[in-house]
């Protein structure tokens, strides 16, 4: 399933949950893992200096010590340290190394930093997720479960074209791991009295129609997947996705990153995926167009 994993880390406790997931996947799939650390350049604009270059051996040593337990159990790994702008360097490394999966945490700045990284369109986190050429696995919450084994995967769809790509990834994963695949759509319902969505009969009707549509759209493409379910709930999409994933004991949520122009710095990460990353109790895998 995975041959090459890039684990982008700040080598701090903020990335500990991501490290656990990254090394677990690497061991499970005998995938090569590159621990990638960017030494943030001191010069404005991330320009590299000789002074930055000189810190590389020391930082590498720190990484080896910090991840000693994981590295001792990993047979196929490399450590790469470069100075520069984290966003630019990670994206360049993706182009050079072409991994199957990028694993990363979100922020080193505690709750406030986390909120900022996810909400701020200029944050390295958002830029990387939007522009990544491979799926990005985000491990945010320290309490998040991890891919010790994959038993339950939630694929949250908005039925878009990008969601189709995420669906392809989810079905491939389900076939390779024999996990249960839960296809889920949350229809956005604003329960304001007088709003068009307020009528319960209309809500139920739409739910049935979307369920029928989902079955027609997805079931024929799931040959070979023994255990799957399709559900449509109504409410605030991100909350419903988080609640549904919790109910299904999901190890992973797969979603499309639906920026209209991947790589564009002006586009914002979708509001639903941002909130799911912030709140989900398991890793979230974002698939780009």
């Amino acid at each position: 399933m995975f041959k090459k994993i890039l684990f982008a880390t700040s080598t701090t406790s903020a990335c500990d949950p991501a490290a656990r997931v990254a090394f677990t996947i690497s061991n499970l799939y005998k995938a090569h893992i590159t621990v990638f650390h960017v030494i943030e350049a001191k010069e404005p604009g991330g320009a590299k200096t000789d002074a930055d270059e000189k810190t590389i051996p020391g930082v590498k040593e720190k990484i080896e010590t910090y991840y000693a337990d994981y590295l001792s159990k990993s047979k196929n790994h490399a450590i790469k340290t470069v100075p520069g702008d984290p966003c630019r360097e990670i994206l360049e490394e993706l182009q050079k190394d072409t991994p199957d999966l990028l694993v990363m945490g979100v922020s080193t700045g505690g709750e406030a930093g986390l909120e900022n990284a996810i909400q701020n369109t200029e944050s390295s986190f958002q830029k990387i997720v939007k522009a990544s050429i491979c799926p990005v696995l985000i491990v945010n919450r320290p309490a998040a479960s991890f891919w010790g084994t994959i038993s339950n995967v939630v694929f949250a769809t908005d039925f878009s074209q990008t969601s189709d790509k995420a669906f392809d990834f989810a079905t491939l994963l389900a076939k390779k791991t024999n996990c249960e695949l839960h296809i889920f759509h949350a229809q956005n319902v604003s329960l304001t009295p007088g709003s068009k969505e307020f009528n319960q009969n209309a809500i139920e009707e739409r739910r049935r129609e979307k369920l029928s549509f989902s079955k027609k759209k997805y079931v024929s493409k799931m040959e070979g997947i023994a255990n799957y379910s399709i559900e449509i709930w109504e409410g605030s999409p991100y909350l419903e996705i988080v609640k549904y994933a919790r109910e299904k004991y999901a190890d992973l949520i797969i979603m499309a990153q639906d920026s209209k122009n991947p790589g564009s710095e002006t586009d914002e990460l979708g509001s639903t995926i941002k909130q799911v990353i912030l709140r989900a109790g398991c890793p979230v895998l974002c698939v780009n167009k």
């Binding site: 009528n199 209309a202 009707e205 739409r206 129609e209 979307k210 549509f213 759209k217 209209k260």
Partner: protein, 116 residues
């Protein structure tokens, strides 16, 4: 002049389709949901309908079902234009299905073929 009813809850899409179709010689009327659309269809005849699926209130499929049950309206051709990939599964009897973002040349060709 052939008359096209554009049904979409997104004002940007409504304006885009209105400009595109008007520029190409068609008369257009817009509706922002299925209920408003049904009122318009009841009031005047249309040669073609472009229909979004995921709108507040009734879903596009429900509008299509109601249209198909009406002897006088069931022959109005409907093009589904939706952000949902695979929208042909939602309304298999639509004359065409396009996924947003769609190619305007493709849409115009479909419209021309239907209304020639």
């Amino acid at each position: 002049m052939k008359k096209i009813l554009i049904i979409d809850d997104d004002p940007v899409i409504r304006t885009y389709l209105t400009n595109l179709l008007t520029d190409n010689g068609y008369g257009t009327t817009v509706a922002q949901d299925a209920k408003e659309a049904m009122d318009l269809v009841d009031a005047e005849p249309f040669d073609l309908i472009t229909l979004d699926l995921d709108m507040p209130g009734e879903w596009g499929t429900r509008f299509f079902s109601k249209l198909a049950q009406d002897k006088q309206k069931k022959n109005i051709p409907v093009i589904v234009i939706s952000g949902m990939a695979g929208n042909e599964y939602a309304i298999p009897k639509a004359v065409a299905s396009l996924t947003k973002p769609f190619d305007q040349k493709e849409l115009l060709k479909i419209v021309r073929d239907i209304l020639k």
